[in-house]
């Protein structure tokens, strides 16, 4: 419960908090999402899993993920207001209709960045050349790992919000809808993501490690 308590504390402050960092030892696996990210539609997953060669590859991929993944996350909480133009005033500049709708009725937001580290990128590169099927499984697994990490944190934010009598909105990321990916340039420094989480931004606004996510969770 320590995480939830710390999020509650951050939400109680009623002003923008400094970034804080969580590290998780383990994140539960969502196998369906994993295979979906590996381009296998949900309806066909059962069939694929009947192939023992394929399940052996899955086990191998999981073993790599266990060795290579870290689960790091940084977040801050901040109250939000509405500007004269009706857009929410956030610590980074944007004029996104979709985000505005998403944050309808919210008094605060939690901003966070999460990563599973560069180990998965390394394994993906290794296998893309020698064993493309394994490469694809690892791509999917990396995506699943970081999304599941976000889900875990999101559940903690939900619990914190609930205990304060609030609800949360669906999390929203730069690059969704009309929220341009370019906001990453302002977003990541807010969390000191380079130094604390090892997340860097390329000139074309891609994050490295590639299995990283930034997002906003509205509290209403």
């Amino acid at each position: 419960m320590e995480h939830v308590d710390r999020i509650i504390e951050a939400l109680r402050v009623q002003k923008r908090t400094v970034p804080q960092y969580f590290e998780y030892d383990e994140v539960p696996l969502n196998e369906m999402e994993w295979l979906r990210y590996a381009c296998i539609p949900i309806r066909d997953q059962q069939v694929v899993k009947e192939d023992s060669k394929f399940t052996a590859s899955m086990a191998k991929a999981l073993a790599f993920a266990r060795d290579e993944c870290v689960f790091r996350l940084g977040f801050l909480a901040t109250p939000i207001s509405r500007g004269e133009d009706g857009f929410p005033v956030l610590p980074f500049a944007q004029k996104s209709e979709k985000l505005k709708n998403n944050l309808e009725g919210c008094s605060a937001v939690v901003l966070f960045a999460a990563t599973v580290g560069s180990g998965m990128d390394r394994m993906i590169r290794r296998f893309e050349k020698s064993d493309p099927q394994m490469g694809l499984l690892l791509q999917g697994l990396g995506a699943e790992r970081v999304e599941s990490l976000c889900d875990l944190f999101n559940a903690e934010v939900d619990a914190a919000a609930q205990s304060l009598g609030h609800n949360t909105c669906h999390r929203f990321s730069p690059g969704y809808g009309d929220l341009p990916i370019e906001v990453q340039k302002e977003f990541l420094p807010l969390l000191d993501a380079e130094r604390r989480l090892g997340i860097l931004l390329s000139d074309s606004y891609l994050m490295a490690p590639s299995k990283s996510v930034t997002a906003i969770i509205g509290i209403r």
Binding site: Q20, L76, K129
Partner: protein, 818 residues
């Protein structure tokens, strides 16, 4: 006093955190602290003076983020000069009586280097050089590189320092809670690389508190022969009432740091969250501790960007397969710039169990420096095995060593003055573990004594360049016993003397010994066992030879190098079951295709079945057998392509999915490999490409390439001569390649909306300079509308659609010719 002299008998104390103190002094979020050197010099001097007053010997200039990416040259020079002046002023004003030094602080550029990110290694060197030059001109006592979380970036910064000044340089890395750098390097790997490049002190800072860094520090102390430094955070940060607070306070901090000083750390300070009070407490604590002498660890290490490999204990296997000598297929790959073939050899050898890879890409007709540079970069993107750079061309050697992310093995020098004078300076600059052949101007001596004498001469010469014998490994040269039956005895004696009398490591290219004899494996593997017994530390060998691997595993088990024989047991369990070798002809006749090719729905031959099911090994062996009676191209046309069509059609009908398609493609690739080998052996020209060239690239600014790689693989399967330019490819580079090959078709991939403009620009340039080329586009963000808007000829949803389109164009071309 020179700082290095001072350090010999004293602990050296660094300063503590700067950021928090600047914020307390009024630095606003988003404001660049480096600008305060000019706008608020008094504040900077005040904080730095408080560190000197607390007992710091070294204060870092306020230049952590002062680099050419954030500031123009003129402002950068002004800020760095002012920063150094401020630190000097703080030292002058301080009442502290200790020795005081000013360090030029260098932090990371904040760019992730290729292959992880999009920034060039050499650009990073250039950027760091700017800051170094300005700082050195302003008059610092040393350079302090810190908070580096990537080994390649660290190398770029250290190289920039070494190329611009002779001042002492300290290097400090930021480790995660897993005890590794963000990009995977262990402390031992960093020690190997940084000592090789002559850093004067090395260690860890930031990210964690002193207690969490104990493991990292202990590893440094175990491996390092230079002073170890530690500059930890005040524990972990936490938010309290809107302020960051750290959970370790000066008494516990100095207690923890004190324990590490007792273990051997010689240089200590603090990072985020620490203040002058922390430094004062550490200085106080140290008064009751006697500095532990820094000792020479005498370890022979090479490293990759993740780990170090130690020579002199368990024998080291160096894979010999990346070498064109006597391998037609490999020569063909080199001529065709087929880097994937080389990467494939690397990964296969890694799977076979080698610890290092020898890399030789020398052929008379290729540009060896350029190719070796490319090979090093590409290899270290896919494998974490350390590399042994194998070339006689010093230009190629320098290109490779410079770009190598770690401490490489250098193959080789010998007793010739000219060669030593060319190679040793490179090793002194970039670091390296050097293979030295015991031959000289007089050739290869017959006796062991004479070879040992040459070894002694080489040790002396290396010392003149500051290269100690721990960084040498002698190859006393294995010669064939078919010419001289005393040859092996001389080699084994030399191995024994060099290892036990000179106490230096030894390595051999084992297989020469049996040249000219039948059943070479018997002689070679026995010789290997005998040499190991005489103390051989490493062998350049063929890891696909089961006999060699048998010897290696048995030797380790017999010499108590394999706890509970676990490695041996695992190895033995995975050995292929012994089979009676079937005659090649028998295998084919049994599996002869029984129905007309590819006319029906399902696969019509064993080979086709193997491909459809994605059975890589079986496909390879069936193809090999079939080559005895069919022409290579006939096999492609009548077996491989029909099988791929079956899988491709099933994929389009959504009867199979991408993973199966990829497996089939991989299986087909092994058929192509066999065909290529057969064609290379018969010197039959074009290596099997029966269709037109196809240039493929992920556009400029975009580093996603899995989709592109899949398309490439499938296209190759269908016989297209694919030239893959990789990812993040500048627009003109695509155009140049299309012109060079006169390629009728180009495939461009983009995943991000932000990189579609680069795609549009590439198409525009293609229209101007290569109007004959058709352009198809694909990638997650693309749609038919998008493709139309940017002027592409075709939008391809997936790999199969790309193949169909490419086939159309190829067909049209062929008809045009007829």
């Amino acid at each position: 006093m020179n700082i290095l002299d001072y350090m010999k008998d004293h602990f050296l104390f660094l300063d503590g955190g700067m950021g928090t103190l600047l914020q307390e002094a009024g630095l606003q979020p988003g404001e660049l602290p480096e600008r305060w050197n000019v706008s608020h010099p008094e504040e900077i001097i005040r904080i730095q003076k408080s560190y000197y007053d607390a007992g710091s010997n070294v204060v870092l200039s306020n230049t952590f983020g002062a680099n050419g990416l954030k500031f123009g040259d003129e402002e950068l020079e002004t800020l760095v000069t002012a920063a150094v002046k401020n630190a000097r002023e703080a030292a002058a004003r301080s009442t502290g009586t200790q020795e005081k030094f000013v360090a030029l602080d260098i932090g990371p550029l904040g760019k992730l280097l290729k292959p992880y990110g999009d920034y060039e290694f050499e650009d990073a060197v250039t950027m760091y050089s700017k800051t170094v030059k300005f700082g050195v001109a302003a008059g610092v006592d040393l350079v302090f590189i810190e908070t580096m979380n990537d080994s390649y970036d660290t190398k770029a910064a250290l190289l920039a320092v070494k190329e611009n000044t002779d001042l002492p340089v300290f290097v400090s890395n930021a480790y995660g809670s897993d005890g590794k750098l963000m990009t995977g390097a262990s402390p031992a790997a960093m020690v190997a690389m940084l000592e090789g490049m002559h850093a004067d002190a090395i260690g860890a800072n930031c990210s964690l508190g002193p207690d969490q860094l104990v493991g990292v520090v202990e590893e440094y102390l175990e491996y390092a022969s230079v002073p170890v430094l530690l500059k930890p955070n005040a524990g972990l940060p936490r938010a309290e009432n809107g302020k960051t607070v750290y959970d370790v306070f000066p008494p516990e901090f100095s207690e923890s740091v004190g324990k590490l000083l007792e273990k051997g750390v010689r240089i200590a300070g603090g990072c985020c969250g620490t203040t002058p009070d922390y430094i004062r407490a550490v200085v106080e604590k140290s008064k009751s501790i006697t500095p532990v002498p820094v000792t020479e660890k005498d370890l022979s290490l090479v490293s990759s960007y993740t780990h170090a490999v130690k020579f002199g204990e368990s024998p080291i296997l160096i894979g010999e397969r990346i070498n064109p000598t006597g391998k037609k297929r490999f020569q063909q790959a080199l001529r065709e710039n087929d880097i994937d073939y080389i990467l494939g050899e690397a990964l296969k050898q890694q799977d076979a169990g080698v610890q290092l890879l020898d890399v030789n890409v020398g052929l008379p007709e290729i540009d060896e420096p350029a190719f070796l540079l490319r090979a090093v970069k590409e290899l270290q993107a896919v494998t974490d095995l350390p590399l042994q750079l194998d070339t006689t061309d010093p230009v190629a050697m320098e290109a490779g060593l410079r770009a190598y992310n770690g401490k490489a093995m250098v193959n080789s020098v010998n007793g010739k003055e000219e060669v030593m004078n060319m190679i040793f300076p490179l090793v002194a600059k970039y670091g390296g573990f050097v293979v030295a052949l015991t031959l000289d101007e007089g050739g290869i001596p017959d006796t062991a004594e004479e070879r040992v004498a040459i070894a002694e001469k080489i040790i002396k010469k290396a010392a003149e360049y500051g290269i100690s014998k721990k960084d040498l490994i002698f190859d006393p040269l294995a010669m064939t016993i078919s010419a001289d039956t005393t040859a092996a005895l001389a080699t084994m004696q030399a191995v024994h003397s060099i290892r036990h009398d000179l106490k230096v490591n030894t390595s051999l290219g084992i297989s020469n010994v049996s040249f000219g004899l039948p059943s070479r494996n018997i002689i070679t593997s026995t010789f290997f066992a005998l040499c190991l017994q005489d103390g051989l530390s490493a062998a350049i060998m063929n890891p696909y030879s089961q006999e060699m691997m048998n010897v290696y595993h048995a030797f380790r088990a017999l010499h108590n190098m394999d706890e509970n024989c676990m490695d041996y047991i695992t190895y033995a369990q995975n050995l292929p079951a012994p089979t009676a070798a079937p005659a090649a002809g028998a295998a084919t006749s049994a599996e002869k295709p029984s129905s007309p090719e590819g006319s029906g729905e399902g696969p019509s031959s064993e080979l086709q079945k193997a491909i459809v099911r994605g059975l890589k090994e079986k496909t390879g062996s069936l193809t090999k057998a079939m080559l005895a009676e069919k022409k290579p191209l006939e096999i492609i046309q009548s077996e491989v392509i029909p099988a791929l069509n079956i899988v491709g059609a099933d994929f389009e009908k959504k009867k199979v999915y991408l993973p199966q398609l990829l497996m089939a493609a991989e299986a087909a690739k092994s058929a192509f490999e066999e065909v290529k080998i057969a064609m290379a052996a018969s010197d039959d020209g074009n290596g099997g490409s029966s269709r037109c060239p196809f240039v493929i690239a992920t556009v400029h600014g975009d580093i996603h390439d899995i989709g592109k790689n899949i398309v490439k693989l499938i296209l190759e399967n269908y016989g297209f001569a694919v030239s893959d330019l990789g990812k993040d490819v500048p627009e003109q580079e695509v155009v140049d390649e299309v012109i060079r090959l006169h390629a009728p078709i180009v495939g461009l991939s983009a995943l991000m909306t932000t990189t579609v403009p680069a795609m549009e620009e590439t198409i525009k340039l293609l229209r101007e300079q290569a109007p004959w080329a058709k352009v198809c586009v694909g990638g997650a963000v693309l749609t038919q509308e998008y493709a139309d808007a940017i002027g592409a000829d075709k939008y391809c949803r997936d790999a199969m659609e790309t193949v169909r389109y490419a086939e159309e164009i190829d067909q049209a071309l062929k008809e045009g010719k007829e």
